[in-house]
């Protein structure tokens, strides 16, 4: 009789395979990792400087400290969420490129185990990259977090991360089904989330139909919650209902993501889309 603990140990060990493999890949592609960090940092600084220059651009008296923090929250949260989304949605694309996809899908592990490992790495990667950017930005701007509810903001960030894991798993189906165009499709999904979710502006500046879409994007609520926690110092007790809704939505999206992936995998196996020759 195989004990439940032995099965759990096997599945957790298999999950760690993905974390360790990705850490090895990051080390081997360190040059590319540094390029990506420099690009992300330059992008974050460019956006934050818009806030710093707003009184000169508009000619009006603007609270630039508030604007800098507003934009900084947007750029850091977006970087964190998009790293999670990228890591998960690109897992199939990368394995297709290396030719290892069949070996990974042939391994005796559940797809949930596969996703768990990839997801844990994505969160770790996203946190490290975002922390690095935040550290560099703080050196250049006089950012004050006095009165901010940092712990509440972090809770909101992690709850929002769950939704992006679910969305990333769903997006990873695209390279599975469309080997040549799937990767570009995931970028389109990401660009639309950036547009509709109020990353750098309140969503009420958007046209009415865009606001409808914004209200179904989890990123909208993550950003609103974090801005309330940091800019207005809203206590965690007040943020709690929003946190619960985000966490439940995130867990639901992860479940749907795994279901969608399993269906897509079966479809790919029926139609020979994993790979076929001879």
């Amino acid at each position: 009789m195989i004990s439940l603990w032995r099965i759990v140990r096997f599945e957790l060990g298999a999950s760690y395979a993905f974390i360790e493999r990705n850490l090895h890949l990051v080390r081997r592609y360190m040059g590319w990792e540094l390029v990506w960090f420099a690009y992300s940092l330059a992008s974050a600084l460019s956006i934050t400087y818009i806030g710093a220059a707003m009184d000169r651009i508009s000619g009006a008296k603007v609270n630039t400290d508030y604007l800098i923090l507003y934009l900084l929250i947007g750029t850091l949260v977006w970087r964190f969420l998009s790293v999670i989304f990228d890591n998960i949605s690109e897992m199939i694309q990368w394995e297709r490129w290396e030719g290892t996809i069949e070996y990974t899908l042939m391994a005796p592990i559940h797809r949930f185990t596969h996703m768990l490992g990839q997801t844990a790495f994505a969160i770790l990667h996203g946190l490290l990259l975002s922390a690095g950017i935040a550290g560099a930005v703080v050196l250049l701007f006089d950012v004050s977090l006095a009165g901010a509810n940092v712990a509440g903001a972090l809770f909101m960030l992690l709850a929002g991360g769950l939704s992006f894991i679910g969305l990333g798993i769903m997006a990873s189906v695209l390279p599975l089904l469309f080997p040549e165009r799937g990767a570009q499709m995931t970028h389109m999904v990401q660009a639309l989330l950036l547009l509709f979710s109020g990353v750098y502006y309140p969503i009420d500046v958007l046209p009415g139909w865009m606001q409808v879409i914004a209200r179904v994007s989890p990123a909208t609520y993550v950003l609103q919650g974090i801005r309330e926690a940091i800019l207005q110092g809203t206590p965690t007790v007040v943020l709690w209902p929003r946190f619960v809704v985000l966490a439940v939505t995130g867990v639901g999206l992860m479940g749907v993501g795994v279901l969608v992936f399993n269906r897509a995998e079966q479809y790919a196996k029926r139609t020979g889309r994993l790979k076929r020759s001879g």
Partner: protein
């Protein structure tokens, strides 16, 4: 050593006397959709072409046997290996590995098999040790036990120690293919599926890989399915050979039996002549998949 692999401990019961592999009336066709856009298909202007990769294929493999699948490119060898690897779902028929259905009980089958394909698929920037560690963890082998086993297998393959931690992309194709076989060794599969493991290798590497296959059978008591278009390889390694042409098995016998079937007047003949007589084709002809519908 295999007892350290948790996947081995999670392995299902294998009843004595049961065939290692049973393939019954398996057929598979694929849609070739590259010529028809979704708009054309929606309007019914152009029906997608379909090709039959496998047509009513049936055979049984006994435990411990090396079973050859011989056929030209495009004959359906890789599709058949992929069906048994749980990577392709057949349209009809069924395939069993030690009594377990490759579609309905795929997770159990995955614990019994491993596969080596024609292209050594690895993360090219990672080293052999890093790639094998990834494979080991997926099959439940961890930490020091995994590392010791990986080092032991790489030493046995004759890989110099300085190459253990170099990126795979810096290794020759022959050496990469040996590491691919090491990956399969690592998980102690009961059924090993080898899909043209020596194609494209230089003669020396080919001989070394063939020696490894023999060693695997002798030391691991594994059942091996070997797809190849190398006649000599099939003849020297395999107990029985199925000749596959246009997705159908046209003959199945021992190498001697196949020769006896074709030979006349007691003349000694080669496997090339056997293949030509049974299929009407030279082996180096690229097999044309059978088109079944479309325009």
């Amino acid at each position: 050593m295999a007892q350290n692999v948790i996947a081995t401990q999670l392995r299902p019961h294998i009843a004595p006397g049961i065939p290692a592999v049973v393939v019954e009336h398996v057929s598979k066709s694929f849609e070739l959709d590259e010529r028809a856009s979704w708009w054309e298909r929606l309007r019914g202007r152009r029906r997608p072409r379909r090709i039959r990769a496998l047509q009513d294929v049936s055979f049984t493999v006994a435990p411990g046997e090396i079973f050859g699948i011989l056929g030209p490119n495009g004959s359906g060898k890789s599709t058949l290996i992929r069906v048994l690897s749980t990577l392709i779902i057949p349209d009809s028929g069924r395939a069993l590995v030690f009594g377990y259905d490759v579609v309905q009980q795929d997770m159990i089958v995955k614990r019994l098999i491993n596969r080596v394909s024609v292209e050594a698929a690895f993360f090219k920037k990672l080293s052999p040790v890093e790639n094998l560690m990834y494979g080991a963890r997926l099959y439940g082998l961890h930490g020091t036990a995994a590392r010791e086993r990986i080092y032991s297998i790489l030493h046995r393959l004759g890989l110099r120690e300085s190459a253990f931690h170099q990126p795979m992309e810096e290794m020759s194709r022959g050496m990469q293919q040996k590491v691919a076989i090491a990956r399969a060794f690592l998980t102690s599969p009961v059924v090993l599926l080898l899909d043209e493991p020596t194609t494209g290798l230089d003669p020396r590497s080919k001989r070394e890989v063939q020696a490894l296959i023999r060693e695997l059978r002798e030391t691991h008591d594994a059942t091996i399915l070997l797809s190849t278009h190398d006649m000599q390889e099939a003849e020297t390694l395999c107990d029985r050979i199925a000749i596959l042409d246009e997705g159908r098995i046209v003959a199945l016998d021992t190498p001697e039996g196949l020769k006896a079937r074709v030979a006349a007047n007691g003349r000694k003949i080669s496997m090339e002549e056997v293949f030509l007589a049974l299929t009407g084709k030279q082996m180096d002809e690229v097999g044309d998949a059978v088109m079944v519908e479309g325009n």
